[in-house]
Symmetry: C2
Subunit: 138 residues, 2 copies
Amino acid sequence: MEQLPNMRLTTQRQIILEELGKVTSHPTANEVYDMVRKRLPRIGLGTVYRNLELMADSGIILKLEVGGTQKRFDATVAPHYHVRCTFCGKVDDIDIEVQNKINQIAETASDYMILGHHIEFSGMCPRCSEEKKATSLH
Amino acid sequence: MEQLPNMRLTTQRQIILEELGKVTSHPTANEVYDMVRKRLPRIGLGTVYRNLELMADSGIILKLEVGGTQKRFDATVAPHYHVRCTFCGKVDDIDIEVQNKINQIAETASDYMILGHHIEFSGMCPRCSEEKKATSLH
DNA sequence: TTATGTGCAAAACATTTGCAGGAGT
DNA sequence: ACTCCTGCAAATGTTTTGCACATAA
């Protein structure tokens, strides 16, 4: 586990990272807590929050501050975009090529020093499309 | 005030909308509450939340679910993008031309029905840049 | 050995909701 | 009048934090 100076390798951290790596969903802190608790029943929710935050800061994982009420976490660090279903809240990856120039364009258009960007698409996931179709049939 | 059927024109709603229209910042519900309370001291925070939500639903205002812990509101409904300062949390508008095709590209790349997108840039605002410069001098 | 991390519980925030009384239409 | 809306306060949901004990290095 890549780590910051003075960051200890604890069982809790290993397992949080392992569990996050197992899924392709983008779990919330509470969902990670549930996953981890199956292997470490006595772990505290605070520990999960603290460590997800720490790992996100050190770049080991990604913290997604997407729409919705909760933050989500992603073991895939490489830049990529997300689609969120407006109806059920599910978040999926989406691989598209966006010109790297977009940060430059933004920097030219503002007085900020642009450090990055995040694009979030919103729409309806296949499952919700099905449900809607089913519902409107009666 | 453009409104949904059965949506009454109350003093509270008028003033919330007026106050939101006065500022170019992107206030949180609590900031709107503070602004409105100067004119309507007995208004409840719940009322502010309820009405901001309602207005956003009816398209009169925009609800920004940007990064950070709180939702923000914007009286400007026309599509535009935002920059958020990573250091102080300030949110500004940014006017750039992004190809409308981006939704089509995303739709092709996923199995979602794409309804919209949101681009949020992150960076350092001029004020924080100044402060950082000042701090690193000693 | 000792600084860092953990579990637990309480606190801090942000937002939503139930309800009795108030106000627009 | 008849809904819909409001203020208030309590409830809910998410995240953070204080502290005594545990543990990696």
